[in-house]
């Protein structure tokens, strides 16, 4: 029951962010620099949150209507082979992502692109590496 309330809350927050974003895009047109990006960012994040919330609401209602199908869905979700397949695919895509981001970083660096954008790419790359290192260390201690 708590899950559905959270989903409704998420959908409402999403709609709110979307509305605020659209309002600022329509009314203010002389924003400069990073501030000009904020309304669009608000629309983007609002859409994602709204979509996630609505998805959860639909799923919860469908589960209530057909408990057998909901049970099957839960089994599929928790199935160890499905989880192993998903984890293996994620590991492969992580390796590819690291390779592609480093190639992209090198390419944009030699293209002489805006320093801010270059730093943004470099920070994203660094963040992903640090995130991996943190979890590697955490799991190393756990297992």
């Amino acid at each position: 029951m708590k899950k559905i309330y959270t989903a409704y809350l998420l959908a409402a927050v999403g709609i709110g962010l979307l509305a605020v974003g659209v309002y600022f895009i329509k009314t203010i047109d002389d924003l400069q620099g990073l501030l000009a990006v904020l309304p669009y960012l608000s629309v983007g994040i609002g859409c994602v949150i709204f979509g996630h919330g609505m998805g959860e609401i639909v799923l919860q209602h469908a589960s209530n209507r057909d408990p057998a199908a909901a049970k099957d869905l839960e089994i599929e979700k928790k199935d160890e082979r499905n989880i192993a397949i998903s984890n293996r695919a994620k590991a492969k895509s992580y390796d590819m992502m690291i390779f592609l981001i480093s190639a992209l970083l090198f390419a944009v660096a030699i293209m002489g692109i805006d320093l801010l954008l270059l730093l943004l790419f470099a920070f994203t790359y660094f963040f992903i590496i640090m995130y991996t290192t943190y979890y590697r260390y955490k799991y190393y201690k756990e297992m």
């Binding site: 089994i75 199935d79 160890e80 082979r81 499905n82």
Partner: protein, 68 residues
């Protein structure tokens, strides 16, 4: 690792779907286990053994790889 899951399941007259539902895994997992394409976790191996009231070694056969 080999296993006798298919043989044991058929001996008990159980369908893959029924076994999957009892063990709370997907039917595809049972199929993959029987074909030897997937090795179960130790937890699932225990669940299978308990379901058939057998020891793990009676269902799953560990064969050491021959070194050349």
């Amino acid at each position: 690792m080999n296993n006798r899951l298919e043989e044991i399941r058929k001996k008990h007259g159980i369908k893959q779907e029924e076994l999957a539902r009892a063990l709370e895994v997907s039917r595809q997992t049972i199929g993959s286990l029987e074909n030897g394409r997937y090795n179960p976790s130790i937890l699932l191996a225990f669940k299978i053994a308990r379901y058939f009231e057998l020891n793990i070694e009676e269902i799953f056969i560990y064969e050491e790889e021959e070194k050349e």
